[in-house]
């Protein structure tokens, strides 16, 4: 066991700061939050005060960062006021998509994923814009599931929601995102 001292953390900041920053940014998609997460991770490393040396420092730090990311996502979801439509998980509010008989009212329009690198670049721009347009809470749970790859159990535990509620919210996020891509991703 190594006692973490100031040289360690400074060296870690220099050697792994960029990596941790990219890792965080890829998941929270906000530069300021990503910077803060790097800082919190290194502070937690000091407070833990025990780097067991069993794994590479980068692996150890990434493990701490992962927890910090989940903490942040949980805080953000909880701080979101329940707006009217999101407060009713049993009423998915999907009526705009389906007729009374359950058939597509507004049929899913055609689009297909990008095929080459240039297209992919353009697609990513639209994809990010569309994620930003989702209601905050849905965007967070979607990020947690699809980007952070939390499983259902983790999502329900961290967000204190029921399994069914999680499925409904993920469904709504996917419906919204799919529609937004249909409208904005002009696939030739």
């Amino acid at each position: 066991m190594t006692i973490v001292n100031v040289q360690h953390t400074h060296q870690w900041l220099v050697e792994h700061g960029d990596y941790l920053y990219r890792y965080a940014l890829a998941r929270v998609r906000d530069t300021h939050q990503a910077e803060d997460l790097v800082q919190e991770t290194l502070i937690a490393a000091i407070q833990n005060n025990s780097y067991a040396g069993k794994s590479a420092p980068r692996t150890w730090l990434t493990g701490i960062l992962k927890h910090k990311i989940i903490d942040l996502m949980r805080r953000q979801v909880r701080e979101q006021p329940l707006d009217h439509e999101e407060a009713l998980p049993d009423e998915p509010g999907m009526d705009e998509f389906f007729a009374d008989d359950g058939h597509w009212d507004e049929k899913p329009g055609f689009w297909s994923p990008p095929e080459d690198e240039l297209e992919q670049k353009q697609f990513f721009v639209i994809l990010q814009q569309c994620m930003d347009r989702l209601p905050k809470k849905l965007a967070q749970i979607f990020l947690m599931r699809e980007v952070h790859e939390s499983d259902n159990e983790e999502i329900c535990k961290e967000l204190e929601i029921s399994t069914t509620n999680a499925w409904v919210m993920l469904y709504r996020a996917r419906m919204g995102l799919r529609k937004c891509l249909e409208l904005n991703w002009l696939d030739k």
């Binding site: 953390t9 900041l13 990219r22 890829a26 290194l42 000091i46 055609f110 994620m131 599931r145 996917r174």
Partner: protein, 86 residues
């Protein structure tokens, strides 16, 4: 027979959990007959793939670096923390 609404919900949930046998059978049957739901299923799978690819791209982009200013600020915070203990 599942409605499109039910089929689309199951398609979404199949990305989050294993479907029950009877749900799977119902879904396969519906998809055989419904091109709209097949399209929906393909698209939400493509979304998952692209969202993860975007994440990997940012993770591996060497040009994305912790801004120097932030690095300095963090270095300062860490030094102060060490001085004052926990």
């Amino acid at each position: 027979m599942l409605s499109c609404k039910q089929a689309s919900q199951l398609l979404s949930q199949s990305l989050d959990r294993g479907l029950l046998r009877r749900e799977r059978i119902g879904l396969v049957f519906h998809l055989m007959l419904c091109s709209m739901c097949r399209r929906f299923g393909r698209q939400i799978e493509a979304m998952r793939k692209m969202v993860r690819r975007l994440r990997q791209q940012i993770e591996q982009d060497e040009a994305v670096r912790l801004p120097a200013e932030a690095q300095q600020r963090i270095a300062h915070v860490l030094a102060t923390r060490h001085m004052h203990g926990k």
